[in-house]
């Protein structure tokens, strides 16, 4: 009886195996040719700015010209992309190509998850400022796609005739707008990326000259936090609560007169507002006479360490295709971003566009975004304290002190 049961079990399993193999991949017609490959591309572009669609369109265009190459394009939030890539790399299932921001180069190079690109591309064709943002230890860790990625002031011309030149002028125009039921200024109050320009305007920086020692507990940081607190609670310029999407929606709906946002959204705002859209520098800090200094970098292709052989050849070819002059100018047209290719940046399409010219004017006063791993500690330490000040639950001086201690604690854990 037992023997029969054992053989019955074997028979069932064998039938299952045949069934599975019959519906599986063994049919000769379905066997891929040796050249066929699928490139897994992860990017962090948003759909609202039409940028995610642009990435997909580039992949589709390449596949159309190279039918043996398919793309699996995956869209992730910037931070999720970083976390997932690290986890996937540890598990041995990293994607073949990344399209991301420059500050990811810090953690990725520390963990040796990406490869240098110096020997793979003719980097002299890209603008120096774009390349400088991904150079670490003398090697270049990414191929620039766009140049900028900086914050600037967008304003609605139907609500604001002339953009404020300095913070005093900005605060002075607030009551008139508030009386009309318009929020004078919106920005993402949850991310310190929006704090950094003001810190520069008050003469501060997040690192000492060595580029790795945090300098967050400084008079400039206290003044910056106090300024952000005051425009919210004293001048009532900004809403009680606004994250990225909230601020973006208020501006797009014409309920906010001005927004501080990145160049990545220029195209979407122009499509939405047309001639009503104006761009200017973030107003000069009246107290210091200095321009706010947003971080500048761009978007980059980064190649994971595990991408080798024919896949690496295909990835290199795709990057050259995606950043050729024709596609760089296509990016200017579709996304209104400054290109990273020198020949495209010199094209009249870029130099003759007033919005892009204003964007470039803001970039002039920007500073390169640090790429070192220590910057993660600064971001993570500034975020909760900035939020606490903007929630009116912490004094600026206390917040600056806690930022510093938190960053130092974090840096100790990096080792």
């Amino acid at each position: 009886m037992k023997k029969r049961l054992v053989w019955t079990l074997f028979s069932i399993l064998l039938i299952g195996a045949f069934a599975a193999s019959a519906c599986g991949p063994s049919a000769p017609a379905a066997t891929p040719t040796p050249e066929s490959m699928t490139i897994a591309l992860w990017h962090q572009e948003g759909e609202a700015e039409n940028a995610a669609q642009y990435v997909q369109a580039l992949a589709d265009a390449y596949s159309a010209a190279h039918p043996n190459v398919m793309f699996e394009v995956t869209n992730k939030n910037t931070e999720v992309l970083r976390e997932d890539f690290q986890t996937a790399a540890l598990a041995g299932s990293a994607p073949d190509l990344l399209w991301t921001v420059n500050d990811h180069a810090g953690p990725f190079t520390a963990a040796e998850l990406i490869q240098p690109v110096d020997d793979l591309f003719d980097l002299s064709q890209y603008v120096d400022s774009g390349l400088a943002a991904v150079v670490l230890d003398g090697k270049t860790w990414g191929v620039p796609i766009s140049n900028g990625n900086h914050l600037m002031l967008y304003y609605n011309k139907s609500l604001v005739d002339t953009p404020p030149a300095d913070t005093d002028a900005m605060i002075a125009m607030a009551p008139g707008l508030i009386d009309k039921g318009i929020t004078p200024l919106v920005f993402n109050q949850t991310e310190p990326f929006w704090l950094v320009p003001w810190l520069g305007g008050f003469g501060g920086s997040v690192f000492a000259e060595d580029g790795v020692t945090p300098t967050l507990n400084t008079p400039a940081m206290v003044q910056t936090l106090q300024f952000l607190h005051d425009i919210k609670y004293i001048d009532k310029m900004v809403p009680a609560e606004s994250d990225y999407d909230g601020a973006d929606t208020l501006f797009k709906e014409g309920k906010a007169a001005m927004i501080i946002n990145g160049d990545w959204t220029l195209g979407a705002y122009h499509d939405q507002m047309g001639e009503d859209l104006g761009i200017a520098r973030i107003p000069m800090v009246s107290a210091t006479g200095q321009w706010p200094a947003p971080y500048t970098a761009g978007k980059y292709f980064m190649i994971p360490s595990g991408t080798t052989g024919s896949k690496l050849d295909t990835v290199v070819d795709f990057i050259n295709f995606a950043t050729n002059k024709e596609n760089q100018l296509g990016m200017v047209t579709k996304l209104a971003r400054l290109p990273a290719l020198k020949s495209a940046l010199d094209d009249p399409l870029v130099s003759g566009d007033p919005l892009l010219a204003n964007s470039a004017d803001q970039m002039v006063v920007g500073v390169p975004q640090p790429t070192v791993l220590e910057m993660r500690c600064n971001w993570d330490s500034m975020k909760p304290e900035m939020q606490a000040v903007l929630a009116d639950s912490e004094m600026p001086a206390d917040a600056a002190a806690r930022m510093q201690s938190s960053s130092e604690n974090c840096m100790a854990t990096l080792e």
Binding site: A30, D243, T249, S381
Partner: protein
């Protein structure tokens, strides 16, 4: 059509290979088990052991091995600077350090990560115990409201009521919605400008609430969401328990002149205890370990809203403290194990099952 087929084919192939691999692995396991147990050892239990073998292999591969891997990880210094193969055991790292700088070899070298869980911030600023007590408060508040709300609704639905099936279906609805979808929908409702709750509050002349940036209100928002999600489970469990109680007890109690409260206390509560106690233990573990609600409702990443599991996630995947996080995870595991054993012993909740 051809293009669609070309797009679907790779995923079908992938699934086919996976199924084939699993089936072949089972065949190999069965053949090895058969030869070993039936032919070599001539065991009388060959068949039941063969039937158990694939499941046991799955448990080893999916639970036992990862646990051992994580235990091993918890004794290493793995971080971004010591990633993957570059990670070293903390006591090995100590060998390269000046011995005079090591205060205690056990806590500074051997179990450094475990000691760090209690002596260093587990987040940016907050140490273990404040997060632990917040987690206890979060768990207590939620489970109390789940049981109270679930009990009230179950008692109502246990009565003869027109349209009882419809009410029951409606009340179970939150349970049927995927948790992550429900949480993201709730997060939208907590938006300051566009959220339904603030719109409602302002219509009634009240001030809008800063659900995402105020530490207190963000914690309240988390509890509101989790109570909405958790009541259906408790209601279904308690309703099942109530329906198993014979009406004869209540009839006898009524004849003896017992009040409804006395009936509830003396009949209902004792008789639903065998289903209620395990449900509370499960509810407590699920709430204690609930990741989706605290993580996604806390969109601004307020440290004041983090509970142990979200702190663990941030330590591992946002701050990349992998070795530390593995130790942190074992500490949380031990806390839950001790709680579950103590609760079950105290309530005697599983006595009936024995």
């Amino acid at each position: 059509m051809q293009q669609l087929f070309a797009q679907i084919l790779p995923s079908l192939k992938e699934a086919g290979w996976t199924i084939l691999f699993v089936v072949l692995a089972i065949i190999v396991i069965e053949v090895v088990a058969y030869v070993l147990l039936a032919k070599v050892l001539k065991s009388p239990h060959a068949l039941p052991l063969m039937l158990l073998a694939p499941a046991a292999a799955g448990i080893v591969a999916l639970i036992i091995y990862p646990l051992i891997w994580e235990l091993n990880l918890s004794f290493t210094n793995m971080s971004l600077r010591h990633f993957g193969d570059k990670a070293e055991y903390t006591w090995v790292v100590c060998q390269g350090v000046d011995p005079s700088t090591i205060g205690n070899w056990i806590t500074d070298c051997l179990i450094k990560n475990y000691a760090d869980v209690f002596r260093l911030p587990v987040l940016k600023q907050v140490n273990f115990f404040p997060v632990f007590f917040r987690t206890a408060l979060w768990t207590f508040a939620n489970v109390s409201l789940h049981v109270t709300g679930g009990m009230a609704l179950a008692l109502l639905l246990n009565r003869p009521l027109r349209g009882r099936g419809i009410y029951r279906a409606l009340l179970i609805l939150p349970w049927a919605i995927p948790q992550i979808i429900a949480v993201l929908a709730w997060r939208g409702e907590f938006h300051y400008e566009y959220g339904y709750i603030n719109i409602l509050l302002t219509r009634f002349g009240l001030s809008a609430v800063e659900w995402k940036s105020s530490p207190v209100w963000n914690f309240v928002a988390m509890i509101i969401t989790n109570v909405w999600l958790g009541i259906p489970f408790m209601m279904v469990v308690i309703l099942g328990g109530l329906q198993s109680i014979s009406q004869e007890f209540y009839e006898a109690a009524e004849m003896d002149g017992a009040t409804p409260y006395q009936q509830f206390r003396e009949i209902t509560l004792p008789l639903i205890r065998p289903v209620l106690a395990p449900a509370i233990v499960l509810g407590t573990i699920w709430t204690f370990n609930n990741f989706n609600v605290p993580y996604f409702i806390n969109q601004n990443e307020l440290e004041t809203s983090d509970i142990l599991v979200t702190a663990l996630f941030r330590a591992a995947f946002e701050y990349n403290r992998y070795g530390f996080s593995a130790a942190f995870a074992f500490v949380i595991f031990v806390v839950l194990l001790l709680y579950s054993v103590a609760f079950i012993r105290f309530t005697g909740g599983l006595e009936e099952i024995r």
